[in-house]
């Protein structure tokens, strides 16, 4: 018996008819027009409309709040939902409505995409699944065999997919980019992006920018030479590659002593943001290699630990800002850049704000990269402050040593890859903040392709149990409006909604909702597994839902 929910879909009837007929004709089935009508009606009652997400829809993603079309909800990196059915008054009634469980034991880090009643998720190590948003039941699965000798620093994981037209794009831990038919999971093309045997892998969600698929690379702990790529969505041909570590003769190469640039790392392993009006692509870069021993790579080590602004048509660098020059603490600047327009001293400006792993919050002009503001948002013991151009004034004696040096923030930073969220109504950037110092050691390490290349290690500070919080930072001033304490440093990202809420998760399995203005805890649910993913919101059956991956489970919540 067909579900009434499906019969309500009127949009795209003509396309469905054509699709159904072409499907039948492909099966060499002879059809009369009456028969075709009957078949069409049957199929219309029982089949999903194939997703057709154009780049125009992506640019205006927040105009269709029932869907979640791209990694961060919109291209500006806000992870904000305009849906307001779930409010500060009724969120206490939020309950799980369905669960979907994965089989793999690697961390479940997906940020789902939702389009027209279908949820597309990635699963570890590099799988994809389409789920019915109403019931959570799988519609199709794509399971990729992974070579047994893949090396990744931090788990064989995947943070999400991208969708353009009716094609899904998935990066894989063996460093391929795969295009899948969104209707069936069938592989349309599969291209090798890099050599996984030398430590390259892809764990980030790709980003659709205009008519191309942009994908970043992981491998910062393996001495790769990082890059950002753009691919043709139809053929898989690479359109451009920007090397995050410049080669000889290129600007920035002189910031690497000797040949250390060859193993400079600077991975691009978190999805960036895009400003269609300025036509600029913003992307963060990771640590220089080897992580903890800077003596073998004297210099600022561009473009590691940077925010890059690139021309998306050519991959040409327009500007860069380096948060931590010559980093020796593994403070990757792999964050979702958050693009906002706001007045500074009475003048409306186009800004990008970043709460960086190094414990400083930054406001930059996103047209020019000009440093406008920077101040600590978490405990830090490594810098006296920032100079007028935003360069840190590093305190002596804070770099790793062979005996170990205690420093805040620690290895994992004052925040990590977990997405922040920006709520336009409050003007606050909400950040999953970590209070976790480490003792960092420096060692020597000879580079071998495919081998760990960090030259050091770390451990926790004795007698101190790390903690965390959600921090609400005024996006223009950097002032902390409120903090909500968490039991341990969070790996889960945050979502804000027009209902006045901020959703997040904890390592101990709590999903929670805070009042966006005050930070008061309004709702929580114990999911039973660590939450190492970003939440999203969408609508199904006319009701607002919130979804998040926790443990081995994807949970969808709604008010029944």
């Amino acid at each position: 018996m067909p579900s009434p929910h499906w019969t309500k879909q009127n949009a795209g009837d003509k396309n469905r008819h054509r699709w159904a007929l072409s499907h039948l004709q492909g099966l060499n089935v002879r059809v009369t027009s009456t028969c075709a009508l009957a078949i069409f009606l049957f199929l219309a009652l029982n089949l999903r409309t194939p997703a057709q997400v154009t780049s125009a829809r992506l640019r205006l993603a927040t105009a269709e709040p029932a869907n979640w079309l791209t990694y961060s909800g919109n291209t500006q990196g806000h992870r904000f939902s305009p849906l307001a059915q779930i409010t500060t008054d009724n969120v206490q009634r939020l309950k799980p409505v369905w669960l979907y469980q994965i089989q793999d034991l690697n961390a479940f880090q997906t940020s789902p995409i939702v389009v027209d009643g279908v949820m597309y998720i990635s699963e570890p190590p590099s799988h994809a699944t389409a789920l019915d948003t109403r019931t959570g039941r799988p519609l199709w699965v794509y399971r990729r065999p992974i070579p047994s000798d893949v090396g990744v620093c931090c788990g064989q994981v995947n943070k999400g997919l991208a969708l353009l037209g009716d094609t899904l794009f998935l990066g894989t831990v063996d460093a391929h980019l795969v295009a899948l038919d969104a209707r069936s999971g069938h592989v349309r093309w599969d291209v090798k992006v890099a050599d996984y045997t030398t430590g390259h892998s892809i764990t980030a969600a790709p980003l659709i920018v205009k008519d191309q698929v942009v994908v970043g690379i992981s491998g910062g702990e393996y001495g790769i030479r990082g890059f950002l790529d753009a691919y043709d969505p139809k053929s898989g041909a690479r359109r451009w590659r920007f090397s995050t570590v410049p080669g000889p003769g290129n600007p920035g190469n002189q910031t690497w002593a000797g040949e250390s640039w060859k193993t400079g790392s600077a991975g691009t392993w978190v999805t960036g943001s895009y400003d269609p009006a300025l036509n600029l692509l913003y992307w963060g870069t990771g640590n220089p290699g080897p992580d903890y021993n800077g003596t073998v790579r004297e210099g600022d080590n561009l473009y590691s630990n940077c925010l890059l602004a690139l021309d998306p048509d050519t991959g040409q660098l327009k500007w860069h800002f380096q948060f931590t020059p010559h980093d020796v603490h593994d403070w990757d600047a792999n964050h979702v850049p958050v693009l906002i327009d706001a007045a500074i001293q009475g003048v409306l400006r186009k800004l990008v704000v970043v709460a960086n792993r190094n414990a400083f919050f930054y406001v930059l002009d996103r047209q020019t990269g000009e440093f406008l503001l920077g101040k600590p948002y978490a405990k830090q013991t490594w810098a006296k402050g920032l100079d007028r151009k935003g360069r840190p004034i590093v305190l002596p004696g804070t770099e790793p040593t062979t005996q170990g040096t205690a420093v805040y923030p620690g290895l994992h930073g004052a925040t990590n890859w977990a997405s922040p969220t920006y709520a336009p109504k409050t003007g606050l950037l909400y950040v999953a903040a970590r209070e976790e110092g480490t003792i960092t050691y420096r060692a020597t390490s000879a580079y071998k392709p495919g081998a760990y290349f960090t030259a050091g290690g770390m451990k926790g500070i004795p007698g101190v149990e790390p903690s965390g919080s959600v921090k609400a930072i005024e996006a223009i001033t950097g002032q902390i409006r409120w903090e909500f304490p968490l039991h341990s440093p969070p790996w889960a990202g945050l979502l804000s909604t027009a209902g006045g809420l901020v959703f997040g998760g904890t390592n101990e399995g709590n999903v929670f909702a805070l009042h966006a203005e005050s930070g008061k805890l309004l709702w929580s649910f114990q999911t039973g597994g660590p939450i190492i993913a970003n939440p999203i919101s969408y609508s199904s059956g006319g009701k607002q839902h919130v979804a998040i991956a926790a443990g081995r489970t994807l949970l969808a919540f709604a008010i029944e």
Partner: protein
């Protein structure tokens, strides 16, 4: 290491796996090493096992009597099916710890409490370190115990008599975490030197199912 046989790593592939993945549910975390580094570390660990073990010179039978008698160790520790589980289980303690460590634990229990935290504690299903916790409930009841688990909103304890307690943090007037403190008393003034050696010898003999 005290003995050449590793209960969780009986062969080379198991040792390699333990080095890579740690011991799930235990204190040992995984490590990120290249295959070469893994092999080198495994070889080093095996060499440790070929070092002559330091044998305690006390009487283990006398030590067993002390354990369950004068020492009252069974009030907080289990050996096999006997005892209470406030502190760590000691069924295999002789595999994990040598005489010097065990002697220090008896004389100065707080000296050997793990003093740092595995930085990659992403999965905090069951926290480590037997943290001593003291609470005062909303109605004024005081309770001391060992933390079993904790999250954003709740904390679970085991009290010295073995009772299990779960509190919402909102139900507590006070919550104190006694970092570095141990409910275990020192035996410095309770046991003679001979008794101490006997007890250490008994603990060293506790190797679970190992016949070594």
């Amino acid at each position: 290491m005290n003995v050449p046989r590793l209960l969780k790593a009986p062969d080379e592939s198991a040792l390699s796996a333990v080095i890579t993945n740690g011991v799930p549910g235990g204190a040992m975390p995984g490590t990120r090493m290249t295959p070469d580094e893994n092999r080198q570390l495994a070889a080093f660990v095996r060499r440790l096992g070929r070092t002559k073990a330091i044998e305690p010179f006390g009487n283990p039978q006398q030590g067993e009597t002390l354990f369950w008698g004068k020492g009252s160790c069974g009030a907080c520790h289990t050996v096999g099916p006997r005892g209470q589980r406030l502190g760590p289980d000691l069924t295999e303690i002789g595999v994990r710890r040598g005489p010097a460590h065990l002697r220090t634990s008896l004389l100065d229990p707080e000296a050997e409490i793990p003093d740092n935290f595995s930085v990659y504690r992403r999965v905090i299903l069951m926290p480590d370190n037997f943290l001593q916790v003291r609470v005062v409930t909303a109605d004024g009841k005081r309770l001391m115990g060992v933390r079993l688990n904790e999250d954003l909103l709740s904390i679970q304890l085991r009290d010295p008599s073995g009772g299990l307690h779960s509190f919402l943090k909102s139900e507590l007037r006070e919550l104190h975490k006694d970092w570095g403190k141990s409910p275990m008393p020192s035996y410095r003034n309770t046991l003679t030197e001979v008794e101490l050696e006997d007890l250490v010898a008994y603990l060293v003999s506790l190797r679970g199912g190992s016949s070594e």
